[in-house]
């Protein structure tokens, strides 16, 4: 079955002012890019999708994930993974600990093997026991990616995920993230300011305008 993330007739309001309306379907392996100036409601849209719309905002409409209505599902039961511009790794856990934290429970040995294998896959072999604060920015971004992927999400949201990386690193990391999204056939929505991000995503681009 093809996985999909479907936003149905969304109208997002700040106080009582309409920020954006959206009606989109993203299929597995596709990346929908949202661009627009700050204040156009991009981040609020992602917050709504994760189930953490702050007070002061409200929304009409529904979000369906693989034919399940998750509009009123609590954040932690949605299986929607998010990559932020900061890696937000847990500083009380090692690199392996951060990834293990995200994985479903199970056999300890198998989980460790899986962590080792996936670290090697993204070029971080042997860094499992390192402290995340001692990694470079690019390494942290890759650990954050693994953390999201190994939590086995059903969709993935990218909140300006590459904006803190410098240009060469940015391209490499972006390629890796998009490759993984396509490999896992996840529907993805990306919010970005950067046109090269949008082009690389190779999907539909929606430019939001600031409504006043």
């Amino acid at each position: 079955m093809q996985s999909s993330l479907h936003i149905k007739n969304l109208q997002l309001f700040r106080q009582n002012e309409l920020l954006l309306s959206l009606n989109e379907q993203v299929n597995g392996g596709e990346i929908l890019t949202l661009m627009g100036p700050s204040g156009s409601g991009k981040s609020s849209l992602l917050n709504w999708l994760t189930g953490a719309l702050p007070s002061g905002f409200h929304a009409n409409g529904e979000v369906w994930l693989n034919d399940t209505n998750i509009t009123f599902t609590p954040a932690h039961q949605r299986h929607v993974g998010v990559l932020y511009q900061d890696a937000l790794l847990f500083s009380h856990l090692s690199v392996a600990g951060n990834i293990a934290f995200a994985m479903p429970p199970g056999n300890k040995k198998q989980r460790l093997d899986k962590i080792e294998a996936s670290l090697a896959q993204v070029g971080l072999k042997g860094l499992a026991d390192r402290h995340p604060d001692n990694l470079s920015g690019g390494q942290q971004a890759r650990v954050a990616l693994l953390r999201v992927l190994l939590s086995e999400p059903k969709a993935i949201l990218l909140d300006e995920p590459f904006s803190k990386l410098d240009s060469q690193l940015r391209e490499d990391t972006r390629e890796l993230v998009f490759e993984q999204i396509r490999y896992h056939q996840l529907p993805a929505i990306m919010v970005t300011h950067d046109h090269s991000d949008a082009e690389a995503a190779d999907g539909k681009i929606i430019t939001l305008s600031k409504l006043s």
Binding site: T50, H76, Q77, R78, Y84, F101, R147, S151
Partner: protein, 596 residues
């Protein structure tokens, strides 16, 4: 404002002389900078001399060397007398049980509330309800809790006679129950808001708070139930900031006298209360035994602190694995409901206790099962206020002097950090909190011994002694409260002012302090509240001759009428409350005038 400044500058001038003699080599800096640089050393002196002097002053008599009693034979007679005291083991047991259980209980409930309501509007609401509890002195809280759980107290009235069938007040064991349950209840209710606000204060730090909230969100996105996310992600980073407050609570709970005096059993009492009785006994030879007891108290509290730290390690070891086992849900919704119920219970308990206190203070005739008094009267307030003159003046004078010194010294020390460009040394920051970690009953008695050796018994001297003793407890809180705002002050203002040719003392007084007026006033209100609530330091350092609202309240709590006692307890709450309201209102007023 001008008043504060002028009194501050006189203090500064008087200290200027001290510092000049100390550092005459350094001619390049002005007197203000030198004074500021000297201030951390002065702070250390002010804390170390009384605390460690007091400890030595109790150590020597404990082993029989007491010149004040003309006893010079070193030996273990004090300890021998202790072992022979009937119920000594029970005293120790009671101190350990009440201290440890109340701290543990307050900590667990704090964690449950934080876990269940992290990042929700409810946490702010709970904070708003519970923060006023912080200003209630322990003695007043104890009196209120005592009224609540007494056989004829509010709880029993609410359930009588329709549920309990009691037409007359029953014989109950609360308060003063032999197991210390009342003490545990009182301490838990009092320490819970403190720990909660300490945790919320840590989470309010801009950088840490933001990081932890984002990480909590990440955990939610990864499928963690909110409570589990708090325990697995937020708590490990938050706990190090809670350690010091927790240890302070544990040290206080295991060695305080206010709560056990009012809520505890008499046969035998907790160790700290027993020591106090022995010290105040007419038989001066009991003081050797009391000093030995103070050493045991020191060991007991030290042992409990060590036990807590050990427990920390153990918990870390046990749960380290489960942090990353991927399990996301531990019956979170069930625990959320339990926490909600406990929170409601705690808040209604506190609310009922306060309501009872107010009712008693204005009650005329009040038959047993009725929930409300039959008639109301202001007579108790009138007669109590008539007698309150001297204690009230003492309370205010000592509180204001202590707070002024504490605030000035704290500000100077924080300024010295900025001038030197580095934080106070770890040693200094540790020493600031020493009075909160060492049982006050131990070093305060040593101080009394020393005072009796050297001091002339003039009442003027007793006031100075009381101020110094209060400072030991006011300073840490004032420092804790001011430090983060001072350190967050944008240093560019000072640089701009300096580049315009402003002298360092002017930068301090005219640029930095006005920006900090709100936190300074809050710290002052806190300092006043802490000073108002001190019982043992007032009693001991004042040689029993200086009465304050708090010492009177405790004296009255176990004898006189409930109504008078209620009035004093309410006065105890009213004074700090006025301070905090002023601290809250004044900055708004000052800004309004400034912006006109």
């Amino acid at each position: 404002m001008t008043e504060i400044n002028s009194s501050k500058s006189t203090i500064q001038k008087s200290k200027q002389k001290n510092s000049q003699s100390g550092s005459q080599l350094n001619h390049s800096t002005d007197w203000f900078t030198r004074m500021v640089k000297f201030s951390p050393k002065f702070l250390l002196l002010l804390l170390i001399v009384p605390v460690f002097g007091g400890l030595i002053g109790v150590l020597l008599p404990a082993f029989g060397w007491a010149p004040a009693l003309s006893q010079y034979d070193l030996g273990l007679q004090g300890f021998n007398a202790l072992w022979q005291t009937s119920g000594f083991g029970r005293m120790i047991g009671l101190s350990i049980a009440t201290g440890l259980l109340s701290t543990l209980l307050a900590f667990v409930v704090t964690l449950m509330i934080l876990g269940a309501f992290f990042n929700s509007v409810w946490l702010d609401r709970i904070q708003q309800v519970l923060s006023p509890i912080l200003v209630i002195p322990h003695a007043a809280a104890a009196i209120a809790v005592g009224f609540l759980i007494a056989p004829s107290g509010m709880i029993s009235r609410l359930f009588s006679p329709w549920l309990s069938g009691w037409e007359l007040a029953p014989n109950g064991m609360f308060p003063h129950d032999p197991y210390g349950i009342s003490i545990i209840l009182g301490l838990t209710l009092k320490e819970l808001p403190f720990l909660l606000l300490m945790a919320l204060g840590a989470l309010a730090q801009p950088e840490l708070g933001k990081k932890l909230r984002q990480q909590h969100k990440v955990a939610l996105n990864l499928g963690y139930c909110p409570m589990t996310a708090f325990y697995k992600v937020v708590l490990p980073s938050l706990y190090p900031l809670l350690r010091l407050p927790l240890l302070a609570v544990l040290a206080y709970a295991s060695s305080s006298v206010e709560m056990p005096l009012i809520l505890g059993p008499n046969t035998p009492p907790t160790l700290a209360v027993a020591i106090m009785h022995w010290f105040n006994d007419v038989d001066l030879n009991l003081r050797i035994k009391a000093s030995a007891g103070a050493l045991i108290q020191l060991a007991l509290t030290g042992g409990l602190l060590a036990l807590w730290l050990l427990g920390e390690k153990l918990v870390k070891c046990l749960f380290c694995e489960s942090l990353t086992n991927g399990k996301r849900e531990y019956a979170g919704s069930y625990w959320q409901k339990v926490t909600g119920a406990i929170t409601i219970l705690v808040i209604s308990f506190i609310g009922l206790a306060l309501l009872g206190l107010v009712l008693w203070s204005i009650a005329g005739f009040w038959r047993f099962p009725s929930a409300l008094p039959d008639s109301f009267t202001l007579l108790h307030w009138q007669s109590a206020v008539m007698q309150m003159g001297e204690p009230l003046v003492n309370t205010l004078v000592i509180g204001i002097i202590t707070t002024l010194i504490a605030i000035s010294l704290t500000l100077l020390c924080l300024e010295s950090e900025q001038i030197k460009g580095k934080l106070l040394s770890r040693f200094t920051s540790l020493i600031i909190y020493i009075p909160l970690l060492v049982p006050s009953i131990a070093f305060l008695f040593g101080l009394v011994w020393i005072q009796q050796l050297i001091a002339v018994q003039v009442s003027f001297i007793s006031y100075i002694n009381v101020v110094i003793a209060h400072l030991l407890f006011v300073l840490p809180y004032v420092f804790l409260s001011l430090a983060s705002s001072y350190r967050q002050l944008d240093s560019r203002f000072a640089i701009v002012a300096a580049s315009l040719g402003t002298k360092p003392c002017k930068v301090f007084l005219k640029v930095k302090l006005p920006q900090l007026i709100a936190p300074i006033l809050i710290a002052a209100a806190l300092g006043l509240a802490i000073s108002f609530g001190q019982y043992l330091p007032t009693l001991l350092a004042g040689g029993g001759r200086i009465t304050t609202i708090t010492t009177e309240a405790i004296t009255l709590a176990n004898g006189a009428s409930r109504r008078t006692s209620a009035v004093y307890a309410l006065m105890q709450m009213l004074l700090p409350l006025i301070g905090f309201i002023l601290a809250w209102v004044l900055p708004k007023f000052i800004y309004k005038v400034a912006h006109r």
